[in-house]
Symmetry: none
Subunit: 277 residues, 2 copies
Amino acid sequence: MTAGTSVAERIADRIGLMPAGERRAAQTLVANYPVIGLKTVADFSSQAGVSAPTILRFVARIGFQNYPEFQAALQDELAAQLQSPLSRTVDAGSPRGLGLSPLLEATLENVRETFSHLSDRQLDDMVGLLANRRAKAFLVGGRFTDPIARYMAAHLTIARPNVFHLSGQESNWRDRLIDMGRRDVLVIFDIRRYQESLVRFAEKAHARGVQIVLFTDQWLSPIARFARHVVAGRTSVPSAWDSSAALFIAAEMLVGEVTRRLETGSAKRIREMETLR
Amino acid sequence: MTAGTSVAERIADRIGLMPAGERRAAQTLVANYPVIGLKTVADFSSQAGVSAPTILRFVARIGFQNYPEFQAALQDELAAQLQSPLSRTVDAGSPRGLGLSPLLEATLENVRETFSHLSDRQLDDMVGLLANRRAKAFLVGGRFTDPIARYMAAHLTIARPNVFHLSGQESNWRDRLIDMGRRDVLVIFDIRRYQESLVRFAEKAHARGVQIVLFTDQWLSPIARFARHVVAGRTSVPSAWDSSAALFIAAEMLVGEVTRRLETGSAKRIREMETLR
DNA sequence: GCGGCGCTGTAACGAATATTACGTTTTGCT
DNA sequence: AGCAAAACGTAATATTCGTTACAGCGCCGC
């Protein structure tokens, strides 16, 4: 039954069935969980870039009678979470349980945090999109994240056909738009400071009906507006640079799952490739 | 001086000077921090057993102009707290945590394991090599790892001059050998199945006296023979593919440390770059 | 014991919020 | 390509909320 489950679960259950606007609401809530949900409907809606009624339809869809009831649920979760022991389980399994470096700890924590907000359902849907051999899959990234797109493409290419990494100038990408249609998938990596060229490109692809899978940071690239699925990775670490580790690992897990799903087919494909080398 | 200090601090400062009713409000808030403060004035007042105006007087006494401003402060604190790696209670019994996926767990364990075998001394030396502005730094990788080399190069290029990523065919790399000397550094990524082309290239570079930093897996690429420093990352995960997450994070941390060491210089450099965009 | 001061609650006001109704646009299906 | 259904935003409405004015009560000093 719907009652009794956590808000995050309710979202995960139904985010796949949501229309675009409500999905954006869900994504912004997950990315800023749960604080944005404690603010007013107006605040929530403006941050999500949708109208107030859409927020209300969203909370109604995940099973609440009204907005205050939704907020109460968030507050209850928060209270329960803050009461349980704050002690982090720093299991000193490694030699001489030295706390490792704070930088590493922060990175690992980011990864954990990122995945705690990523439901299996959501991952499954993305895997489903990318496991469709007949659809074309395009990958592109920003200045620092394009290598991750390449990494993903390198693996995906082996598991299935029709994988294309968009490299070089923006103008090169545009020329590929002509090949993209409703069935196809565009994977974009974009973290702040978000690249205008990517946003423009995403918009055009979206206009052609291309399904967009976005890997971004917790503040959500404007591309989230056009995206079918959003992976919001935590990127803050005590360093001069942001950490893309969470996104990298998410990408890695995704290709792993896609390969597993295509197993029978891709095993044959991989064997065939081996003989070609 | 209304701004700057946290809500909890403000309370501690002035709870001694409060009249009875307001003190009850303060105690109730501290006991249920901060959730009760996120609810309505009516909720707060009834739980504290005082009237609504008393709550408002309390809020005013600790330095807020009105109730919404007080709530905003609490929400900001909460957001900051949830972002930093303090309180993620993935305690068992929580219905949504459910131990994350084994694949993710394995990946994280690999990272931890990798770093437990990497001494600070070793990292320091590598950072020292890469922080030498006058030496040239070349980066190259294998089929699946070259994206990590690119990722590293993208960051390194910003922190210091003379960074070159070797892309394309092996023959292209060879032509760059002429530019490499004893002072220079070559960063190679190579995991199994180790690429012969990389081994050949490493050997030639080594012959010219180039310092080699190798990122490889736990079984060590044959290049380890020529390498000045070796980062041996754990790569085994229950998936069709090996995981390069440990190498990725190691690379990320390395560039972070290099940037820190070059701080004064690279800060100027980065600023200069900004103006050029 | 008496009067003044400060603290507190009741109740009414005004502001801000959540909600609903409706027209427009988009989406999906054939 | 054209129709029907769904989704979305605008704007008006009703409700809730925060705020303020005011009167009662207790507390302390004289």
